[in-house]
Symmetry: C2
């Protein structure tokens, strides 16, 4: 994984950018980089185009390749790079202690919507996992997830009380894609109780469908977040590449 040429170039450039090796905010041209690294120009292009998609650099034909000044100026807002899909891991990386309290754990027939989202048939069953997520012992999110039993037939109460994504990895299944939808709503009585919210305080809603590597939809998840913990950052590019 770490030996791919374009990834090496990508990583090295990222590193050099962080080291402020290009104070004039301008990278060497592609042909020079190709020669300097001893790789083909195609590989350099590939590395650069990934960095551009991540918002680190901007390419301008006829002029050169430049570092996004914002990326250097305010690194905190740019935490997007290498973003994590799983909640547990995202938290850990912040150096805080994540916690999980299992609220309920059932097997139920999939309703119409879930059938559609998870590509199931009439009569298929799913786990319904309702969990309260904690952050340094403070509850911040109510999560209701649905997972087809035929994809993970061995889910136990113990497994589900920990990170499901970590469990999956141990089964050689990797979640690398997801479709997310973000909304806001007034809090319900249950929200207020579980998340310690005042009546005027809202919840953020994140609904996600998570996919395995091969495109199989694996889980639909409905997350109700304490509003102060919802902060979704993303770099949007309309280049369609």
């Amino acid at each position: 994984m770490a030996d791919l040429v374009y990834r090496q170039v990508m990583r090295d450039l990222k590193h050099r950018i962080h080291q402020n090796e290009f104070p004039n905010k301008r990278l060497p041209d592609e042909r020079s980089l190709s020669e300097a690294y001893g790789v083909s120009r195609s590989s350099v292009k590939r590395a650069l185009s990934i960095l551009a998609n991540q918002g680190l650099i901007f390419k301008k034909r006829g002029s050169g390749t430049f570092i996004n000044p914002l990326y250097m100026k305010n690194q905190t807002i740019f935490q997007y790079e290498g973003s994590n899909l799983g909640i547990t891991d995202s938290m850990k990386s912040g150096g805080k202690t994540p916690g999980i309290r299992l609220l309920s754990f059932n097997v139920v027939p999939a309703n119409k919507e879930i059938q559609q989202d998870l590509f199931l048939d009439e009569g298929d069953f799913v786990y319904e996992i309702k969990r309260l997520r904690l952050f340094d012992d403070k509850p911040f999110m109510i999560e209701t997830g649905y997972i087809p039993i035929k994809i993970a037939p061995n889910l136990s109460q113990a497994t589900v009380s920990d990170s499901i994504f970590n469990y999956l990895e141990s089964q050689d299944k990797v979640v690398t894609k997801s479709f997310m939808s973000i909304q806001a709503q007034p809090s319900t009585a249950e929200d207020q109780e579980l998340l310690h919210l005042k009546p005027v305080e809202p919840v953020g809603i994140m609904e996600g469908i998570f996919f395995l590597d091969d495109g199989t939809p694996f889980e639909v998840s409905n997350m109700r977040l304490h509003y102060q913990y919802l902060n979704y950052n993303t770099f949007v590019s309309l280049d369609e590449e």
Copy 2:
């Protein structure tokens, strides 16, 4: 623009997918496509990789390329493709009538945060444009935008009462990238008045920094949305390409 080979292939494949030309959810292999379209395999790969990033298809080495079942089953949630950055255009595409009411229009010195976001120096001035956005005559969003005067020296009250992005296009400046941050908050008294909200109803906050094609940060915008209108959808992939 429309004559690029990989875009033609991409568009044609997208079209054929919509026409349900691949009922077995499987696309022809890359080599066949290359031959059928009379283009190189590289171009086919490029087209396919864009479609994969958009979540339309999944590629599986050694097996083939498959259509994301969700993409066909529920097209409404997948409106992401070809997403629009500008508010006005996004609305129009929905077949509804967008409206703008100018609340205030001033030139003010950029504060520290704006200086940082827009890469300005101490003492630089920016337009401060506060507008109420309407949707079929119903207010749904309060937008406060800041634009450096040195980038758009000729902004007039009339210009600003219409779509700024459309104005930019007429000046041959294109906005293709943005950095967005999404949050939720209880509504303030002003929110409640302008957006017709009850006290318990929240607002969605979208903050965005918009970039011109060459990477120049062009505008910071703070958008307070009626919570029922905040619905941000996105396809997330951890492949880093």
